[in-house]
Symmetry: C2
Subunit: 328 residues, 2 copies
């Protein structure tokens, strides 16, 4: 029997999860839950239902894993503990600083409901975290580096859009090639914020807006841009739609470390992602972990987990013997 | 209390394990077991003993994890099942085709002895296997590529040394940059053996040997060289010692896959290693998994495991809360 999955929240991530489920024949999307009027939400999967989020309790026992696709700022801190009492859940909570608190809340709720919860699935947190952890456990004497991009930062794009005179905008975070090369050389450089990433902005102005003023406001914006070398390109609305409507992203996790009786040998471990669609890749990671969560729950486990707690084999449709034969 | 480790076999890998243990304060090397006369083996760790392999049974209960550093061709298939009856063990068995059989033998023995055994730790099999598995579980619709090098192949170097007229030799396996780029482009190319790797040989001739004949014998050697573009450099013994005495290696695991309702988006996951010392890096992976094995044994588990079966957190000295706070 396939694993019955529900989705809460049907934005880019929810749609990504829907697409990922289609690629995994052992998974089945049964329902999408929304705060909107269900009849106004049109999904791609003909065999699934769109439901009001208020009706979710009626689905207890009919869904094996619920995937929460809301935002980390306000949705998930509230939703994940609530739904972890009713269902096995997976979320992609990505506010790194608040993970310990979120974990504790979800752990309590999921134990109460005797469910398994997995938080912070995706690529950072997620696959990048895993790679930081594996690499640092192997190369004990070393340094970690994470670079992001080239990719669209939603938060930075939003910050530009809030500036007066800006009609629309897209911001790309770009890793600095020279910094990457310095890290790969094994020299363990100390890198400033400015040395690691640049920021490229594509901006559509409102009619009559002052380009110089907007550019200056972007480049001097604290936290978002002031500490970076920032480039601003003014383009037409058509150009933005044509060339910048995708949501690509990616990045690099590099560990540089030494071994040998006198630390005489250098090693570089590098993990990188080049993603056409940030939400679809995140969704693909989530769905693999949903498989693991369903299995752990069947084994009688409960409580909150992260990617660190899941043995890799749980993610695969192949059994142990097949994995050893084909992948080891 | 630290984890007490024993090493069986004191070659390059055994010495690498000794160095890795020095870097991990929670681990302690207590004894090295050898087939040679113990007084003829001089190790680096002053607090550890060198013992005859025949005395190993006296160490039951005094060693938490035994690390087997013999070869995969003849040593490990015999040794790992024998010692898994007495101790928790880790090996780096790397004959991919014989892993299922080795697993079954070790599983039986370790269950009989109520010990935990982990086989095939290292980087391939090992970290490369893990990355193949994670990436294929995430990008279900895709293709896997593994490239090795640039690095020294012991087997190919040995094959050259067996040719008449050859005094010494070192062979490097080199991935073809154009093939790597084709894979990274997301085009999922079908690559022949010749298109993926080239082979570079550095050869020292015996006095009076026929260079042309040796070069021809190398280049036409079936399995080892005939299917590759092979370059042969004749150099002096001094040059070989000076420039080719290291044991570097590395490689790339790349998964290229598609997501989206109509498979419209491409993604590339790439994991790469650049290693100054193949045995020391392998040893570092082994020691991290020895930590996991000691913990699983304390939890009361037994039987044979592979890297697929171990939750990542078991490899780290940090506890769950610390991992979530610092690495997620």
């Amino acid at each position: 029997m396939s694993t019955r999955v529900g989705i809460i929240g049907y934005g880019n991530l929810g749609r990504g999860v829907e697409c990922a489920i289609k690629q995994n024949p052992d998974m089945e999307l049964v329902a999408v839950f929304t705060r909107r009027a269900p009849e106004s939400v049109s999904i791609l999967t003909q065999t699934a239902t769109v439901c009001k989020i208020d009706d979710i309790e009626n689905w207890k026992g009919k869904i094996d894993v619920m995937i929460l696709c809301g935002g980390s700022a306000t949705d998930l801190p509230e939703q994940t503990p609530v739904y972890a009492k009713m269902f096995n859940v997976v979320d992609s909570f990505d506010t790194h600083a608040r993970i310990p608190e979120h974990f504790d809340n979800v752990d309590k709720a999921s134990k109460e409901g005797e469910n398994v919860a997995l938080i912070s699935a995706g690529w950072d947190p997620g696959m990048f975290s895993l790679n930081r952890m594996y690499a640092s456990a192997i190369l004990v004497d070393g340094a970690d580096y994470t670079f992001w991009g080239k990719g669209v930062s939603q938060g930075h794009s939003d910050a530009i859009r809030r500036i007066e005179g800006v009609k629309d905008a897209k911001q790309y975070t770009v890793p600095v090639e020279a910094a990457l090369e310095a890290v790969r050389s094994g020299r363990n450089p100390e890198l400033t914020t400015r040395q690691k990433h640049t920021r490229e902005c594509y901006v559509v102005l409102e009619e009559g807006a002052d380009a110089t003023k907007v550019e200056n406001e972007i480049k001097t914006m604290p936290n978002y841009f002031a500490d970076y070398d920032t480039t601003v390109h003014f383009i037409s609305e058509e150009e933005l739609k044509k060339n910048h409507s995708g949501i690509p992203h990616g990045g690099f996790v590099i560990r540089s470390g030494k071994t040998g009786w006198n630390s005489e040998n250098n090693h570089i471990i590098e993990y990188s992602l080049k993603l056409d669609s940030n939400p679809e890749f995140t969704a693909s990671v989530i769905v693999a972990y949903a498989r693991a969560v369903a299995r752990l729950s069947k084994e009688g486990q409960s409580g909150c987990k992260t990617v660190f707690d899941i043995a890799p084999a749980y993610l695969s449709t192949k059994d142990g013997a097949e994995l050893r034969k084909t992948m080891l």
